[in-house]
């Protein structure tokens, strides 16, 4: 299981308040699937 807190700490490329790269990847994957299912 991904630890969201750990992910945020590991990512230095995103903004201080923003989610990390792995979190963003989940947003992209789950968002695409959600949109596909809704349509």
């Amino acid at each position: 299981m991904i630890d969201p807190g750990k992910v945020v700490k590991e990512s230095s490329q995103s903004s201080a308040d923003g989610p990390g790269a792995k979190q963003m990847l989940t947003a992209i994957i789950f968002g695409l699937i959600f949109g596909f299912l809704l349509q």
Partner: protein, 196 residues
């Protein structure tokens, strides 16, 4: 709960199920998947979203964030003075990316399924209001969108946040919100398509 409210909750769906809206949930033309299958898969997706991202599926905060971006661009002082944006500063966050990708995912599904077309009026709408009803459709859509956005922020969630993520956590407020959404939705559809 009063008997009157219970009666409305039971009566409206029953009445709506007997009305002819020209749509059969079990007999879809074209490549669209069964709504029963998709409903189940969305439930599974909600589990996965909880597990892997520790987030809930929701959409309405995206529009508030988008409005915040526009507000910061047009009236930065005023936008910055609003309590909502003090607590929720506009940012490209998880929810924002999620909804952007939802739109892209829906486009991919429509495109690959051969359902993407330049259609401004739904056939049900044309049957009821005719071909030359673009202005009415646009007005109804705009006002309806405004009311939905206002209601979603007022209730702290929309059909996704309350209807999917809240109900599966057995949140009492979400269940109440969804029941009210169905009552209002069915009543509005009946007014638009059968009574008016």
């Amino acid at each position: 709960m009063s008997r009157a409210l219970l009666f409305v909750m039971l009566f409206l769906p029953t009445l709506a199920s007997g009305a002819d809206f020209g749509v059969d949930a079990k007999d879809y033309d074209g490549p669209a998947w069964s709504p029963y299958l998709v409903g189940g898969l969305i439930g599974v997706l909600a589990w996965l979203t909880f597990y892997f991202a520790d987030k809930t599926i929701g959409a309405s905060s995206f529009y508030a964030t988008l409005a915040g971006f526009v507000g910061k661009w047009i009236a930065p002082k005023h936008t910055g003075s609003l309590d909502y944006y003090k607590n929720n500063p506009p940012a490209v966050n998880w929810g924002f990316v999620f909804v952007v990708c939802t739109i892209i995912g829906a486009f991919i599904a429509a495109w690959t399924g051969g359902e993407f077309r330049n259609e401004w009026l739904h056939p049900m709408w044309v049957d009821r209001f005719g071909e030359n009803s673009m202005l009415l459709r646009g007005t109804v859509g705009f006002v309806g969108g405004l009311m939905m956005a206002f209601g979603a922020r007022l209730a702290g969630g929309c059909t996704s946040g309350h209807g999917i993520s809240g109900t599966l956590q057995l949140n009492a407020g979400s269940w109440l919100t969804v029941i009210c959404m169905f009552i209002a939705g069915i009543a509005t559809a009946m007014l638009l398509y059968t009574l008016l």
